[in-house]
Symmetry: C2
């Protein structure tokens, strides 16, 4: 019997979810591609879904997380801010810490 403890964490702002694993993945993809549509495609996610996620993130904070621009040089694009990058780092650090904690607890289940 190979037990595993898994977890999902997310951050809520004013009672609605604002940052979770999916959103973090998307933010990182935007940072790599420079565009929301390309990021969505790289994650095999519909543009609509990606846009909704980003819209919800942007509405949740006062400091901007990503800056969208429409029209212009290359048709527009999306850029991750320093604040957004810091959020991602903090999230992943906390998430890893959570996983580490749960690993230490696993024997409590196995030993029953």
């Amino acid at each position: 019997m190979s037990f595993k403890i898994r977890s999902r964490i997310w951050i809520e702002a004013d009672e609605h979810v604002f940052l979770g694993e999916g959103r973090v993945r998307l933010l990182k993809a935007i940072d790599e591609t420079g565009s929301l549509s390309k990021a969505a495609k790289s994650l095999e996610m519909s543009y609509k879904k990606a846009w909704k996620l980003i819209d919800s993130v942007n509405k949740s904070t006062k400091k901007p997380v990503i800056i969208m621009s429409v029209g212009g040089k290359n048709g527009g694009g999306a850029e991750l801010t320093d604040y957004g990058r810091a959020l991602i780092n903090a999230f992943e650090e906390i998430n890893q810490g959570c996983w580490d904690y749960l690993d230490t607890q696993l024997k409590k289940i196995k030993d029953l």
Copy 2:
């Protein structure tokens, strides 16, 4: 901006989920009511859904977690085993520990 870090944990056995918050709630309700149908009703859950959850739990372990009996004295019933009770306790203890850990990490987000 009032941030909160939330989490869900669950235990997997052989790559499929075996115990999570919903199942724990259901197991506790069964322990209180002595019947799957009453437990489902008390949680405002359909009998079918409750049955599927319990069936999946029972198929995931060698030691029985709940014992179902059909027909007989009061038409049948469901009973939580000592092993099941121990599982619930361990789960809730670990879950609380996870929440406590996440609370200590919250300032990393707030201070960005």
